[in-house]
């Protein structure tokens, strides 16, 4: 075991995959010379050179389209979008091109590309740099959507994302980058579509994504002291969705809370609830609860921002309400 920051774990995954396969290339704003806005590619420019680690202008639509072309012609580009909000700048490339090509070409062409991009509020980055866009991209068929939790998970899942032959939107959490985690010396790629039971419990299930897995574990710890046993499921990937693990857990506990930082309306929590509902209806012992970001633009002021971010307390209170 070793102690690393989340950002270092991302960097290790990139490094190991680049070392293993020289078709893997990085591009994005400040990824090369500065080592990434959040220090996720430190030293890679020095190690792999200008050809494989490329700084781009502020032109998300342009370099995302460029990466799609690279992917179509045999490379495995890893694009970094500085904030997930910028997926909207590149939306046509991501949704209308990358996601559609395998289908529209009848399987003759595919796009083995990863878009890495951070989500999450909490840095006073205001309404245009704090959003969590996983719900939006999950809406469109043709994209795989990854929402890793801790450092070991981010490393294992990023490896799988890079090796995947289809476009993967890989959401890192900007509030986790500088946190330290214990991670195994060797992290194997983690298969997509297989959720992780982060904590076993019997009274209520909480399905969480990204940093809310850690917050859910913290809430579960608190609830354990009150005699409430919480099962925490780290969803890992929204697309593909591990329906089976969630359903089995809900059948066991009878209660479900879904914690995801995207907006509540048409959000990931809503989708998961609806997706499993018909199979767990007769097992439910309480309504399905959601912990998401309320339907308002994220404020710049920390005093206004923090109360609306899904927190340990909000998860705790939601569980107490349902139990």
């Amino acid at each position: 075991m070793k102690t690393l920051t989340y950002a270092q774990a991302v960097c290790e995954a990139l490094d190991e995959e680049m070392a293993k396969d020289d078709k893997v290339v990085l591009l994005g704003e400040d990824v090369a010379f500065l080592g990434g806005n959040f220090k996720t590619s430190v030293g890679l420019y020095e190690k792999y050179g200008d050809l494989r680690v490329k700084d781009t202008p502020i032109s998300e639509a342009g370099f995302t389209g460029l990466a799609i072309g690279m992917a179509l012609t045999g490379l495995r580009p890893v694009v970094e979008l500085m904030f997930s909000d910028f997926l909207l700048v590149a939306a046509d490339q991501v949704i209308n091109q990358a996601a559609k090509i395998r289908y529209m070409s009848g399987g003759q062409a595919n796009v083995p590309m990863v878009i890495r991009t951070p989500i999450g509020a909490g840095r006073s980055s205001a309404a245009q740099h704090s959003q969590s866009m996983q719900a939006m991209v999950s809406h469109f068929p043709g994209l795989k959507v990854v929402v890793p939790s801790n450092a070991a998970e981010v490393k294992g899942l990023l490896k799988t994302a890079i090796r995947d032959n289809d476009p993967v939107i890989f959401f890192e959490h900007k509030m986790e980058y500088n946190k330290k985690f214990e991670i195994p010396d060797i992290v194997e790629p983690i298969p997509f579509g297989k959720a992780r039971i982060a904590r076993e419990g019997k009274d209520i299930t909480i399905v969480a994504t990204s940093s809310l897995v850690m917050k859910s574990e913290e809430a579960a710890e608190k609830l354990e002291k009150e005699g409430i046993s919480v099962e925490v499921i780290d969803l890992r990937t929204i697309v593909p969705f591990d329906k089976e693990t969630v359903i089995n857990s809900v059948k066991k506990t009878g209660k479900l809370v879904i914690a995801d930082e995207s907006y509540e309306r048409c959000g990931v929590a809503a989708e998961i609830a609806a997706e499993i509902f018909d199979e767990v209806f007769y097992y439910l012992d309480a309504p399905i609860g959601r912990v998401s970001t309320p339907n308002v633009p994220l404020p710049f002021s920390p005093a206004l921002e923090f109360p609306i971010i899904p927190s340990v307390d909000r998860i705790y209170n939601k569980i107490k309400e349902l139990i």
């Binding site: 009878g254 007769y282 012992d285």
Partner: protein
């Protein structure tokens, strides 16, 4: 049409009734003949059936609550009918404020709510107060366990106070702890005797409680002490007495106790004993038993003598109620019976209209019913005078406590052959062996003085020593 269901008056002495169990919940439909609720009267539990088809709209009192007879206990009516007025009227009769009762529907229930397109929305179906909240999982769990949720008396602890799986499992646990394997006959006996079957140890197959087990627990006093000591721990009182058993003072035992204390502490008792020579009565009894297909008992003759005496002295066939003394023409004669569950007094109604043979047959039937625990409240209430006979147990003499609200009671002791002084036709005294019985009359001195009591018991003696008068 909505109407009030009242606490029924099931007996002469019944002033209030305790609601033991509701079989229906608010909002449930009820059919004529369905058991609606159980009440505890002065001596028994009675199931009360619905007399018409309706809907239970409101239960005004909760289980365990006692109210005076004729006070409202529930509101029934059509689904969706406005019963708010009736409920508040009923609650004021009960001396309850609507706020006392969380379940009282608030005023808006039946208001019409208009949606934006002016359609009238019926809110009666969506009103949360009326809906029993049960989660799908709780329903499923209950179904799997063959539990009927409406029969489970539990409070939901789940989301918004709904019944969740945990509540069902808890109820199951409670039921399981209460559920005892018992044969149908034993169950019936236990119900009649008011025995708590969970305290009875079964000796049948799989520890099933059998008739013998229930019967054994009816008479714990005759249980012979085990020479080898009792099973389990021996209990001691604080001052070192070894305790055989601690039994609850409840049910029929408590009812008897309360009524005895009430009588003895309210009515000043005075006692009058007279020895009666039964030679002639026994002769008559033999003749009658030989000529009719009926076995008249000594009690029957004493009873007829009492009835005749009561006709002559109606002041004894009386009752002090509040500020009034009621003297009755009708003789409703009670005969105290030692039933397995405790003392009970079946009443032979209109006894003054019956001859010895009819009376004997009626009395025999009532006594049997009493011993079987099958008396209806109307059959053990409304008495005007009571006879208590312990003669069959060889008692020489005893005094009885008046069975309120009656004014007197006659204690009948054993007939014993004893030497008595008799006077022959020539006026000569001699000693003869005669069957003699002691009768002890207890009267309520508030309304019966010594002279009247003496005359009354003298009258009984006269009839029993010259029994031809009993047949007239």
């Amino acid at each position: 049409m909505a109407e009030l269901v009242i606490m029924p008056k099931l007996g002469f002495n019944m002033n209030s009734g305790k609601l033991v169990k509701w079989y229906k919940t608010e909002g449930q439909s009820i059919k004529k003949g369905d058991t609606f609720f159980t009440i505890e009267t002065d001596k028994t539990n009675m199931d009360i059936e619905a007399t018409k088809d309706s809907f239970v709209r409101k239960l005004l009192i909760s289980e365990g609550e006692a109210v005076d007879v004729t006070l409202p206990i529930a509101v029934i009516g059509d689904k969706g009918e406005d019963v708010d007025g009736l409920i508040s009227e009923a609650l004021s009769k009960l001396g309850k404020k609507p706020a006392d009762n969380n379940n009282v529907p608030s005023g808006h229930n039946n208001e019409e709510v208009k949606s934006t397109d002016d359609k009238i929305i019926d809110t009666s179906e969506t009103d949360d107060n009326k809906r029993v909240k049960v989660t799908p999982r709780a329903k499923k769990t209950a179904m799997e366990r063959n539990m009927n949720i409406s029969d489970i008396n539990i409070k939901g602890t789940g989301y918004q106070g709904g019944i969740c799986e945990k509540d069902i499992l808890k109820a199951e646990e409670i039921q399981a702890s209460q559920k005892v394997k018992i044969s149908p006959l034993a169950g019936k006996i236990a119900a009649v005797e008011g025995i708590n079957v969970s305290a009875v140890t079964g000796t049948g197959a799989g520890n099933k409680i059998m008739k013998r087990d229930v019967e054994a627990s009816i008479k714990p006093a005759v249980k012979a002490p085990n020479q080898n000591g009792f099973e389990g721990e021996v209990q001691y009182s604080v001052d070192g007495k070894e305790i055989l058993e601690i039994a609850p003072y409840e049910g029929i035992r408590q009812v008897i106790g309360k009524r005895m204390a009430q009588s003895k502490f309210t009515a000043p008792h005075v006692y009058f004993t007279k020895a009666v020579d039964l030679t002639e009565t026994l002769k008559l009894r033999k003749q009658i038993n030989n000529s009719y297909d009926v076995k008249t008992s000594v009690t029957d003759y004493v009873a007829i003598a009492v009835i005749k005496a009561l006709q002559k002295y109606p002041e004894v066939n009386a009752s002090l109620q509040g500020e009034k003394i009621y003297k009755y023409k009708t003789v409703n004669l009670g005969i105290a019976v030692a039933a397995p569950g405790g003392l009970i007094v079946p009443v032979i109604k209109d006894a003054e209209k019956k001859g010895i043979v009819d009376f004997s047959e009626d009395a025999a039937e009532m006594i049997k019913k009493a011993r079987d625990g099958k008396l209806m409240p109307s059959e053990y209430s409304g008495g005007t005078f009571t006879i208590s006979n312990l003669g069959m147990f060889g008692i020489d003499n005893f005094t009885a406590i008046i069975n309120e609200p009656e004014a007197a009671i006659l204690a009948v002791s054993a007939t014993q052959k004893i030497p008595v002084v008799v006077t022959d036709e020539n006026g000569k005294d001699e000693i003869a062996v005669r069957p003699v019985m002691n009768l002890t009359l207890t009267v309520d001195h508030r309304i019966i003085d010594g002279l009247l009591a003496a005359q009354f018991i003298g009258e009984i003696k006269k009839y029993l020593e010259n029994p031809m008068g009993l047949l007239i």
